[in-house]
């Protein structure tokens, strides 16, 4: 069960992150004008938001590039391996009639 403070904290965080509906925003504006308790909660949520944001580490550019290359190259290599197997298995059979024609026309001078 959500208490009043929890509801207000959710409203405050939603307001900071701009995820509230138009109706909820109106409620927040009303609370800002009328409720010192809500103002304190909003202030705390802003501070927490700021502090927590500082925990995020951006990805180093070289790592970002390297991981992308590893994934795409690996998948291309897998694709090539699959094609190789397909060609190895199917090409000799497909080429047999052509090869026979070649044998007859060139080697036997038909």
């Amino acid at each position: 069960m959500m208490t009043g403070t929890e509801y207000l904290a959710d409203l405050a965080l939603g307001y900071i992150q701009d995820t509230l509906s138009t109706e909820e925003k109106l409620i927040v504006h009303q609370l800002i004008m009328e409720s010192p308790e809500f103002l304190q909660i909003l202030k705390n949520e802003l501070e927490l938001h700021k502090q927590m944001k500082s925990l995020k580490q951006p990805i180093p550019m070289n790592l970002e590039r390297q991981v992308f290359i590893n994934i795409t190259t690996k998948q291309e290599q897998i694709g090539m391996k699959v094609l190789e197997v397909i060609f190895e298995r199917t090409l000799p059979a497909m080429m047999q009639p052509v090869f026979k024609l070649f044998q007859r026309s060139v080697l036997a001078h038909e």
Binding site: T5, T19, E47, L48, K53, L55, K56, P58, L63, V67
Partner: protein, 155 residues
């Protein structure tokens, strides 16, 4: 959306999340690669997913749990790392840091998701594979504690 676009849009989010959880660059690199490999293999289904960020983070979270189960568990807790990392802004706030250290791991993850990534309770429930009600109650308990310590710190 092509894989290239998906990667550009979410790689920073996944890296930040994994670093927050693990603080081990090599392990994070491995899991990051496995995560986006899984995304690459599902690029065609991407447009059907309602919350891409939550979906990708849930893959990352599952991969991380798999790694930890295989015995890669990092012995350093987040708090130890935070205290040791002098460049970390967060460690300057001793009250908040202490409060954060008293929270359980899931609660810390929920707070990170809420405040840093702007995730909803529903999305966090999907990522952590726990009921939405549990996410809410853990979040409220943790935020209450942090608010209290924040107020103590400002006195």
């Amino acid at each position: 959306m092509s894989f290239d676009e998906i990667y550009q849009a979410y790689v920073d989010t996944v890296y930040g999340f994994l670093m927050f959880k693990l603080r081990d660059e090599h392990l994070v690199e491995d899991i990051l690669q496995e995560t986006f490999l899984a995304v690459y293999q599902n690029t065609d289904n991407f447009k059907k997913i309602s919350s891409p960020k939550a979906w990708i983070l849930s893959i990352a979270h599952n991969k991380m749990v798999d790694h930890l189960r295989k015995g890669y568990e990092n012995e350093h807790s987040l708090v130890t790392e935070l205290v040791a990392d002098e460049n970390h802004d967060f460690s300057n706030n001793l009250f908040l840091q202490e409060a954060f250290g008293q929270l359980e791991d899931t609660a810390r993850t929920i707070l990170y998701g809420l405040y840093v990534e702007g995730l909803s309770y529903q999305e966090l429930s999907l990522i952590l594979d726990i009921p939405e009600g549990t996410v809410k109650s853990k979040a409220h308990y943790a935020r209450k504690k942090l608010r209290h310590w924040l107020q103590e710190g400002s006195k």
